[in-house]
């Protein structure tokens, strides 16, 4: 089967090769037959986004990595209609407000590397009906945003109510 680069789903995996989320994302990309580009950091990833404006792109990486430089990468991805999935380290001391702000940008949070699979499933199904261009113009659909309860579960927090 030959791939059409413009429409074939493309995943950008951010982080070092040995990182567990990188390993898992690359493995899943092979399983789903996705085009994979691994970037060491968000700066390389940002230039990859710019290089492929017409492609159906997804970004996967650790929260700590993708949130560097004041969370700018998430805004950049959103402006480009690109969906991101980050692995949230439960041990990490990350302020809840920051996580909420990121989720509001349409970023999907994963508690385990294996959760990337459900992100890919959702995106690949939705991507058939919804283009990156549409996401750029109209914003991400609500179906991709985690609820407050899901965030609490990820953070291991009790519900306020």
């Amino acid at each position: 089967m030959t791939r059409n680069a413009r429409v074939h789903p493309h995943i950008i995996v951010v982080g070092e090769r040995q990182n567990r989320i990188v390993t898992e994302a690359v493995r899943l990309a092979g399983e789903y037959d996705l085009v994979v580009t691994r970037c060491d950091d968000i700066y390389s990833a940002a230039t990859e986004l710019a290089r492929h404006p017409d492609r159906f792109l997804m970004v996967v990486g650790a929260f700590r990595q993708l949130s560097r430089n004041k969370y700018d990468f998430f805004s950049l991805a959103q402006r480009n209609g690109v969906h991101c999935c980050c692995l949230l380290d439960r041990e990490a001391d990350i302020e809840r407000d920051k996580i909420l702000a990121v989720v509001r940008l349409g970023v999907r949070l994963a508690g385990e590397p294996a959760d990337i699979r459900s992100f890919l499933d959702e995106r690949l199904v939705a991507g058939r009906h919804r283009s990156a261009e549409a996401d750029r113009e109209h914003g991400f659909g609500e179906e991709f945003r985690a609820s407050e309860d899901e965030i609490r579960a990820l953070l291991g927090q009790e519900s306020d109510g």
Partner: protein, 371 residues
């Protein structure tokens, strides 16, 4: 001279539709880099306030020059420059604050794995026309700024084609060097060192960084000068310059601040990689600036073994120094205070018999006693 024609160009609104096509991209807070940043709309430049936006635009556009304001990129500079290099063929110009010059120079001259990360650097604040001149003579290249007067010198438009940017660059570097270097030792001069120390101290106040100042002079220098003559005196000063520079880390700034008086500014280099983290690292037990002490000891030893060739066989192992070390924030919060405290420690070292460096405010303050 038709000065008017060029001024018209400078004041003309650029054609925004053509930006990115051989134009200039400036990344970062341009107000930290240019004194005339408010006039940026008059020039054919795009501005990306953040690094990531800069990456995005650099990869999409076809720029001749990308200027990166180093200030504010601490910790991200290497990764960002590596990505930028891959994303664009543009000439990468680092816009460095005075205290960032050693790092900028290193990035331009040595780079890192995979080659040079930037093509040149400019010490800021400067004028927008200086960066414009990097793109092509036709894009603002007619204007050159002399560091001596800071004024833009506008050449006639007709002369644009004859301006050699490389020659201008060489001239500028030469003038910068004359203004900031001590001719005899080739170290930084007093003016540069004081300004550098002031800037790096301000930065450290904001970032809770550390700065340590070493002041030292050569013991009995007057005697060598008077007895053996100025040629010998000059040779001793040059030796001191070479050895102190060699003993210091690349980002430490070393200057000759008067006769036989020298100063070194040790500071936290935000761009150093983690394996060298904590440029002005402290001992956890004593809060001593351990790296500054170690450099000072290294220099003291090297200078003690130095040879004054003009004195023949008697010229080996005769040189010693006395010095004082003062640290921010421990010993003072302004450059004046640090100089005063370090100078007092130096005088105390002299009074106690010379050939020693004292750490300000320590009971056993000879650094030879500090491990």
């Amino acid at each position: 001279m038709d000065k008017g024609a060029n001024s018209v160009w400078l004041n003309r609104e650029p054609d925004r539709s053509s930006l990115g096509m051989g134009g200039i991209l400036l990344i970062g807070d341009i107000h930290r880099a240019f004194v005339d940043a408010d006039s940026v709309d008059h020039y054919p430049c795009e501005v990306a306030p953040s690094l990531l936006e800069g990456m995005d635009r650099a990869a999409r556009g076809d720029f001749a020059v990308v200027g990166v304001v180093m200030d504010g990129t601490a910790g991200h500079l290497y990764a960002a420059l590596r990505a930028l290099r891959k994303a664009t063929c543009a000439r990468i110009v680092l816009l460095a604050q005075m205290h960032e010059e050693p790092i900028a120079r290193r990035l331009v001259e040595e780079g890192s794995e995979g080659g040079r990360l930037a093509d040149e650097y400019m010490v800021c604040p400067t004028f927008l026309t200086q960066v414009l001149g990097r793109a092509s003579p036709a894009v603002g290249g007619a204007s050159a700024t002399s560091p001596s007067d800071g004024q833009a010198q506008t050449a006639p438009t007709g002369a644009v084609a004859h301006v050699d940017p490389a020659q201008l660059e060489r001239r500028l570097r030469h003038l910068e060097r004359l203004a900031t270097t001590d001719e005899l030792t080739e170290l930084k001069n007093r003016r540069y060192l004081l300004e550098f120390a002031r800037q790096v101290l301000e930065r450290s106040k904001a970032s809770h960084g550390r700065v340590t100042l070493l002041l030292f002079d050569i013991d009995n220098f007057k005697h060598y000068n008077d007895v053996y003559g100025h040629l010998v005196g000059d040779e001793i000063l040059r030796q001191a310059g070479i050895l102190v520079r060699r003993s210091c880390r690349p980002h430490d700034v070393v200057g000759r601040i008067g006769g036989d008086e020298f100063a070194v500014v040790f500071w936290d280099d935000p761009y150093r990689t983690t394996d060298h983290a904590g440029a002005d690292r402290r001992s956890p037990e004593t809060d001593h600036p351990v790296e500054a002490i170690s450099v000072a000891k290294r220099f003291q030893k090297a200078f003690g073994n130095a040879e004054v060739h003009l004195l023949g066989p008697d010229g080996r192992g005769i040189l010693t120094i006395s010095g004082g070390l003062a640290s921010f924030p421990r010993d003072g919060s302004s450059i004046e205070e640090l100089f005063e405290r370090a100078d007092m420690a130096l005088l105390e070292a002299k009074r106690d018999g010379k050939n020693r460096i004292y750490l300000v405010g320590e009971p056993q303050n000879d650094i030879a006693n500090i491990r």
